[in-house]
Symmetry: C4
Subunit: 275 residues, 4 copies
């Protein structure tokens, strides 16, 4: 009998913690999100030197309260889930444990507790509360487009990495230590800073030949950004297309959105409306 | 009788001030635009130290003349509008009051009068004078495309913010105070500067590991700019499509612009022309 | 009789100088391009201090030789053209005179002769020698796409300018002189440097609030670059479409390039080929 | 008879070295890739001053071992290929020899051996081991798209170079030595840094007029990046289109991917499936 009521409690908890369709479940998720946000904020504040000097003891206390809360939540999640092992090794299960482990780790290893910002990933649960299905479908379009672009982007990146290696080495030979090109890895770092148009300016060529080569690299970088953009645009168009409303007869995507007839099989989709 | 002539005056003023179809209305809008431009210019000049030192008294006088002019204009607008409350709480009504209030506020709060640059928003009225309808329709296409992209861009931005938080914290741990990564918020600021390819260079990684992580962040930032671009391109194509000339029979968009037959229902749209 | 032979000479010169279909005309254009390139190079070299110190007399001599050459060429162009006034006030006519005038001007005004680099525009004649028609048609597609994007881009730029003015002023109020935001125009310059993702770093925010606002501006700038890109992509697609091979019956653009039937009227365009 | 067994050996070697379909061939390619990676890594490490000071003798030894290995490999490749001259002058043949020659060259010319990083190009062989055909087809789409964009991009680049020359010279006249604009070539270098939105900040305008001109250049650079992007997007869409599954009857590209009927000739491509 005790086992029975235990089971009911477990199921009730599971609905509240893992789902957000009920009122209690939604409230729990909302509270959780705010707690996560506050805990991240407290980590941020601790890292600010002037703040740390004055309020360290309070921040640490708050951090431990958050950690105990997340530990407890984790325990309850394991307890209430039907298959604990499945939860533990799921994406969210791993994130959940990483969200409080670093604080315990910091007892032995100074600075480790900053890693708790990984709990920022827990914020992705926000999509569960908001209009979930809509966001998920948009997310799927993005994911599909990126997945389909993967091969082309790998080819593209391989070319960029090769280019950056060659030009970085050339710049090391041309410019040398005086202008900050102290080694080939540093020169490659500079080439990446340049080709991505970031341009810190902590290292920059001083000799005419180096400036010429840098100019060529910049124009290449400026031009080839068109390539990944073109790839993703095309895939995005295709993925959007495939996620469209389908004709009930032939399953062809309905295009444009307000089309009157299916463009494949001619099935009438909408009544004639006066605009 | 006095009330009658009052009403006529009100209506006349309303036509001049709120519309720009009549000659007087157009002239009023044009003069207003120039006055706004000049008043913004005077704020700019006041902020230049060498200029302020020499001509402060003149600039202040001019600023008060502008403010009195805009106050008067505001009063006339309220007086001449049929429903004053509707005007006051409209977008332009709020902008109009913010355009002169800061000068009065500056009597109590030094520096507040710089906020009058918000009157730059009043310049958006320029679209009323120019070929209005054309610009509005183009603006609508932009607005529709951006509105439809909103969900996808929210998903995208949420991912970017999470990524920037994680990498900013990692860099704070790796680089620390010496290289300018003085706190986690500052490191996140650096990560945003880097991922958006702005790259000020006021903070930049010095350690090999930090430069490696920065390189990865740059390449990610360089690559994922393709994502919002792809999203907007697709939506822009769709919005342009939906704003096109429609077939008079089936309301399908006419494509291409010079099509001879409707591609949906076959209706002949244009006579055959010899190119 | 002398007039007759004069006319023939004029016509012959005109063919050589203004056209590049004949062998002599092509040779003339080629020589001219090299002379222009060399003259620009000599201006570049003169501006290099170490070079100027040593070889000033030679560079000046060379520059005067080029100037006399271009003056002579200009005189011959006027002489040989059927309607001199038409040539003088054409785009190329104006460029041609600006290409040598600054050298004469430099007799009275030091430094003016650097303006001769405007002769770089003369290099655009290169398209006359290369496969002209192909380049012109590609150039037309570009021009049409840009022309059609003009309205949308004006709306976009007006919004960007307003945004940059407001944020520049806010940063002036927040940061002030200490961080280099010495006046509102300078702050607006900073805002443009930031929103366009150039990011020199000569001016950069130091206060937390300033860095927050800068971060927002960067993310806006990173996001909205998608807008002009989307606009131009759509227009480019349309312009490419309109420049395509047309169906000989209904003048609809043939799509895809190797289509067998016209997609509008069904006319057979190509024989069935085994791939 | 000896010649016979020689021929068999040659063929066997050829299969292992030049192809990667057999198990031995795949293993050889994999080992080769790791050796190349390690040899590049050793060059990187040598360039790091602190590392070079301590371990120079080891790094040099390792480098010579790699060089002898690559020399031997090159000899075997020549020996085993059916037509040695064809291999020697092929793209990979030239890369292979450049991959070890610089080490020998460094005996006479200090620093030359850094050029061995050109062996990074050898890594492109990685595509042979991975799903080759898929990558090659994706690479072809990229190549076709870029080839078709070539004309338009040439026109675009010619305009950018002209613009950069003119504005660079103007900035030299406006700003002069004090702000770092020491010569016209340096000013043009600055203009390229700015228009590509790299923005090192090593040179930046100080005068109001210079900052105004720089702002205009930045906004132009920010806007016209849309042009190559638009060009490549359109070409990428076309190239993707042309690489699509073709209808078995009329060879029209099948669109969308899951279309039920060919949109050209009406041939049924797939059975009706319930989604």
């Amino acid at each position: 009998m005790a086992i029975r009521s235990n089971d009911i409690l477990r199921k009730k908890l599971s609905t509240i913690i893992f789902e957000s369709d009920t009122k209690a479940g939604k409230l729990f998720d909302l509270v959780l999100l705010w707690v996560i946000l506050l805990s991240i904020l407290s980590v941020f504040l601790e890292s600010v030197a002037s703040f740390r000097a004055q309020y360290l003891i309070y921040i640490r206390t708050v951090e431990w309260i958050f950690t105990l809360f997340f530990t407890l939540e984790y325990a309850v999640r394991i307890y209430s889930s039907a298959k604990p092992s499945k939860y533990i090794f799921s994406f969210y299960g791993l994130i959940d444990i990483i969200a409080f482990l670093p604080t315990y780790l910091s007892l032995f290893l100074a600075g480790a507790h900053y890693l708790v910002v990984i709990r920022a990933f827990r914020l992705l649960r926000v999509f569960r509360i908001l209009k979930l299905s809509r966001f998920t479908s948009e997310g799927n379009i993005l994911r599909n487009a990126l997945k389909n672009s993967l091969y082309k982007i790998t080819v593209f990146l391989a070319s960029v990495v090769t280019l950056v290696t060659i030009i970085g080495t050339l710049m090391y030979i041309i410019e040398g230590d005086a202008s900050g090109f102290t080694s080939i890895p540093v020169s490659i770092y500079w080439a990446i800073v340049t080709i991505t148009t970031v341009g810190y300016g902590d290292i920059s060529p001083q000799s005419p030949l180096g400036q010429l080569l840098a100019s060529i690299l910049m124009i290449i970088g400026y031009g080839i950004i068109a390539v990944p953009t073109g790839i993703v645009s095309v895939e995005m168009a295709r993925a959007t297309d495939e996620a469209k409303e389908k004709c009930p007869v032939c399953y062809a995507p309905v295009y444009p959105a307000n089309a009157r007839f299916c463009s494949r099989c001619g099935k009438e989709l909408k009544e004639l409306e006066k605009p």
